[in-house]
Subunit: 321 residues, 2 copies
């Protein structure tokens, strides 16, 4: 049985809504008091992270589709798993929502989650559903860290290493700025800028990059979630080093420059402080791993510089700013 | 550095609040993009469950202390881990809260979590903090299922088994009814009824009972979270059996009877539909495991009966009721 698009959570009831979620994102591990994950490889360790998204703060229903919200919830969490050098394997979803929320919206979130989990060969293994005045979505991700080697931690960067990156930097911030100006009604002549909005509403992350970086000798990693200067600064502070970003390597690309011209905003702001790109940032003595590019150097000292100079912008995105 | 009791989350800022949480509930596994759990025993599997609590629906700040709310959040989750026959090892905490929430309140939640985790030798290994109009607390629990035997599932009950229980039944429902009548201002002459309120605000669960039940041959287990008839009915339905509860074994004890007399409520209502006790309910062919008592029998058929008769009350607590 499926319920109509116009049904609300109140009308459908808890059991039916959960049925819709597990139909959209099926897993043989789901459906009991707790999920028992598949047996892990010998010597591997379980990795876990959790992330809460609040409507109006982390997403807006007039800016993102339900599927995009689900996709974003997964990528935010899986990037944290990848940033340890681990492989995401499972997710748990808790939703608090008003009773008048359409069932179709919750089903869409589950579809977006299933879509992104499939890319990682991961599954939605359990969850919780409850009533609330605000719409709040919590995803917890679990992963597997293979072998007995160290994970990629924030304190593992050493002077003499390269800083390498996998993924776009600044796209999410630019997409948010476009949404703030135009909503989803981007003028037809600006159609080329849609990838920036997509990067904000449903960021992507190629699976396995964290594992590859760890396997090829990286020692530290994080993802660009709160803003480049803030996240790299966190890595530098925890490792007791200075990180010098290469101005040319991180300079706004033509798409960011075009969005900057349309909105009359310096695109460096999105690059340095935008965050939410979930770009992986690693340090290594070796050549940039497959899929990564060199974007800076680790040096003695403290703080973050850009080709030796102070960053033009440094404020990042903070949960309680 | 610690901040004063009167500080709000807005005044303290994200970093300071997180510092308060990890100080109250410390773990060497915390503090990176994701938590890498301790290496698991060979042949064990990871178990995970998640649960969201919303202010006004799952707790009230004028009824529960912050520590009690943290304790309840842990027990709700750890009971689900135990109900698989597994041992809880770690928890993740995500909080969405208004900026005017006192830091002391969040610290209290973390203290309650740490206190209950300590009983299980588990740790708070990570989390998330964000701003929201509503106060929402999400805890995800992880555990370890030892050996290669089957977990204790909802579909494992078989005709001819006993139903056994560990923990009080009906106390949480009675405590809620007392709070609804008196708030925390329980008249001095009713002081003996405080254990019922405590059972509602900060339920307890002795660690290791799920593991013991699995080790001694139980085949199915759940916990009493939504109401006895509903939860046992779920077990019966998933296993394709009838479960007959023993009227004498589950009859209201003198404390429940006293509360019922004070409130003019039939205490059977709390026993059969109250829920939130997180009593473990298992089925076994053998003698009741240590800490468990026999409360019924598994038979051919469908549904739930009480010494052969229809339950007087059967509605339970549902997330979207």
């Amino acid at each position: 049985m499926t319920v109509g698009l116009s049904h609300t959570l109140d009308q459908a009831g808890e059991r039916q809504v959960i049925h819709e979620i597990v139909t959209a994102a099926p897993s043989a591990l789901n459906g009991d008091d707790a999920a028992v994950l598949y047996p892990a490889a010998p010597n591997s360790r379980t990795v876990a992270a959790t992330d809460m998204m609040v409507e109006g703060r982390h997403f807006r229903r007039d800016w993102s589709t339900a599927a995009e919200i689900g996709q974003k919830a997964i990528v935010r969490n899986f990037a944290d798993i990848e940033a340890m050098g681990a492989r995401p394997t499972a997710a748990l979803l808790a939703i608090a929502a008003p009773g008048e929320t359409p069932v179709d919206f919750v089903r869409g979130i589950a579809q977006g989650i299933a879509e992104r989990c499939a890319v990682y060969n991961a599954e939605l293994v359990g969850g919780d559903l409850t009533r609330s005045d605000s719409l709040v979505i919590n995803v917890t991700a679990m992963g597997s860290l293979g072998g007995s080697g160290a994970p990629l931690t924030l304190d593992g960067a050493r002077a003499g290493q390269k800083l390498v990156a996998h993924g776009k930097i600044g796209y999410s911030g630019a997409g948010l700025a476009l949404l703030q100006r135009f909503g989803r009604a981007l003028p037809p002549e600006l159609e080329e800028l849609w990838p920036l909005i997509d990067a904000h509403c449903a960021p992507t992350l190629s699976p396995g990059r964290g594992v590859i970086a760890r396997a090829t000798g990286s020692t530290a990693m994080t993802d660009n979630s709160d803003g480049l200067v803030r996240d790299v600064g966190h890595l530098a502070q925890r490792s007791g080093v200075r990180i010098d970003l290469d101005r040319a390597a991180i300079a706004p690309d033509p798409l960011l420059a075009a969005a900057g011209a349309v909105l009359d905003i310096d695109p460096w702001e999105w690059v340095l402080t935008g965050g939410e790109d979930h770009t992986l940032l690693a340090t290594t003595y070796k050549a940039a791993p497959s899929g990564f590019r060199e974007v800076g150097r680790v040096m003695r000292g403290t703080g973050v510089t850009i080709s030796g100079e102070e960053p033009r912008y440094r404020e990042g995105w903070e949960g309680f700013a």
